[in-house]
Amino acid sequence: MTQLDKALEVKGLTKKYGDFYAVNNMSFHVEPGEIFGLLGPNGAGKTTIISNIVTLETPTEGDVLVFGHNVQEEPRKAKSLTGIVPQEIVNHGFFNLEEVLIFHSGYYGLSNNRDRIDFLIDRLGLKEHRHKKVKQLSGGMKRRLLIAKALVHSPKLLLLDEPTAGVDIELRESLWKFVQELRSDGVSVLLTTHYLEEAEELCDRVGIIHHGELRKIGPTNSLVKEFTQRNVSLKLKTAAKVESQFLIEQLQENLRFRIPSEMGLGELLHSAHLSLDDIDDMQIVEGNLEEAFLRVLGESKA
């Protein structure tokens, strides 16, 4: 592991099931200390990519490197550095929560990991459940346990496959706070989620994938800028006929404009031959990631 190594590098990854391309020639990377969001509709290939990172699947073609270690050639080095929260709940019929964490630490080579386990149990609000059998936990609790498991060995790369599916708002918020905390400790994060609002708030960069192909990748805010427009609603003091290429609706004194995300309000007023004095009230709605996401998918369908 050198200073220059990316936390994760996916190079020309292809995964075929029979003739079906679940992932098709995908390349992207995650910088150290970055939160990267992998977004895409159901079946886009997100989980398949994650499975290839932790060697649950073997690439049909291409390479995956974790901090410079090829996961196929040096699997144990790569996997020691990686923590994964799988999309699906894992049950551990025979064991209680604490035992599961002790065993899991062991798989990562840690025989005496009590401090870390105590910290995680505490931090994830699992204290009063620590002696419960896993099957006695609620769905949300089981998901917290998955997160604790992923972190027992203090991984440098954390893979979160829809960690907030079926989780209540409170836990979702505390979970994302925890993720940000981990990032500030230097952990790099790859996450998938269908809650785009959360992704927008959290991710430094996102990649949008569809049918196994990368459609768009970039810093979250520049994607939003590039693929969304601003919605401007104006209420005039008196109804008047307005001409503008950006006007999309007029109901007497109520006007709605859609303008490019980099266009300022002054410019709009100027182009529509309006002045501030004509205006009674106004509202601006900025574009968001969800809009950008839909635009990217829409374009790629066309």
Partner: protein, 263 residues
């Protein structure tokens, strides 16, 4: 916090296996005790009286080593296979694969778990058997060679643990797996000479029996306890060792090619 990728993952997985079967102590120990009692009662005591054996050996004495080995093999197989099957249905097996656990660690830890349970069952079987023997013959059945006894139990147990692991890796459901137990394992064990000496079989079936590797395990244990066997000791040692290597290779191949995915 001490980190050791060489031994800790193996030790922890082995410990998990031991904890797992100790949670089901009744199945683990009581069931084989009951089984053995039934076998000894039906075959060893009642039917066995009518069976003629070599000089100095009673049918009860002949049966006990076979039952010890059978209990060990059955339990080593079923412990490893049910562990993998359970982990598959829970999704836990994916944890093994996404962690730094190596194939060798998984193989040896799971088969060692199977062996541990197999040995416990052997001890239970032995105790029950000795009590029967004492009751019938007024003395304990002496053990000819303890070292050889351990050798055959360990080699057989590891081989069958590996076999159980491999079977469960390839199985597509619990039913699939129990079919392997019923249609492959059980016949091999019964035809391996637990209940009879192959000397009593017609020539053709004797030859067929010689192709069954379990014959050598069962006769190995019989030699270790009674000092008699249908096949020579050297052959038994060699064949069982080869069998272990074969099953080790099969399990390495299974973990590399088979499925860790959920059912």
């Amino acid at each position: 916090m001490n980190k050791n990728l060489k031994w800790t993952p193996f030790m922890m997985l082995y410990w998990r296996e031991v904890r797992r079967f100790s949670r089901v102590a009744v199945q683990t120990l009581l069931a084989p005790a009951v089984n053995t009692t039934l076998y000894l009662l039906i075959f060893g005591v009642s039917i066995g009286r009518a069976i003629k054996m070599e000089e100095g050996i009673t049918y009860l004495g002949f049966l006990i080593p076979g039952l010890i080995m059978m209990g060990c093999l059955n339990n080593a197989f079923s412990n490893a296979s049910s562990s993998v099957a359970g982990s598959k249905s829970a999704g836990e097996l994916e944890d093994y694969k996404s962690s730094p656990l190596s194939s060798q660690q998984i193989i040896w830890a799971l088969s060692a778990g199977g062996v541990s349970r197999g040995l416990l069952v052997s001890v239970v079987t032995m105790v029950v058997g000795e009590l029967f023997y004492l009751n019938q013959h007024g003395e304990f059945l002496p053990i000819n060679n303890v070292f050889l006894l351990f050798y055959f139990l360990l080699v057989g147990g590891f081989a069958f643990g590996m076999m159980g692991l491999s079977a469960a890796i390839w199985a597509r459901s619990f039913d699939h797996l129990s079919a392997v137990g019923n249609f492959v394992l059980l016949p091999l064990i019964y035809l391996g000479g637990v209940f009879y000496s192959i000397d009593n079989l017609p020539g053709f079936w004797q030859k067929v029996s010689l192709a069954n590797p379990l014959l050598y395990l069962i006769n190995g244990v019989r030699y270790a306890i009674l000092g008699v066997s249908d096949v020579s000791l050297g052959v038994s040692v060699l064949v069982t060792l080869i069998m272990l290597l074969v099953f080790l290779s099969i399990s390495v191949w299974s973990l590399a090619r088979g499925s860790f995915h959920r059912w």
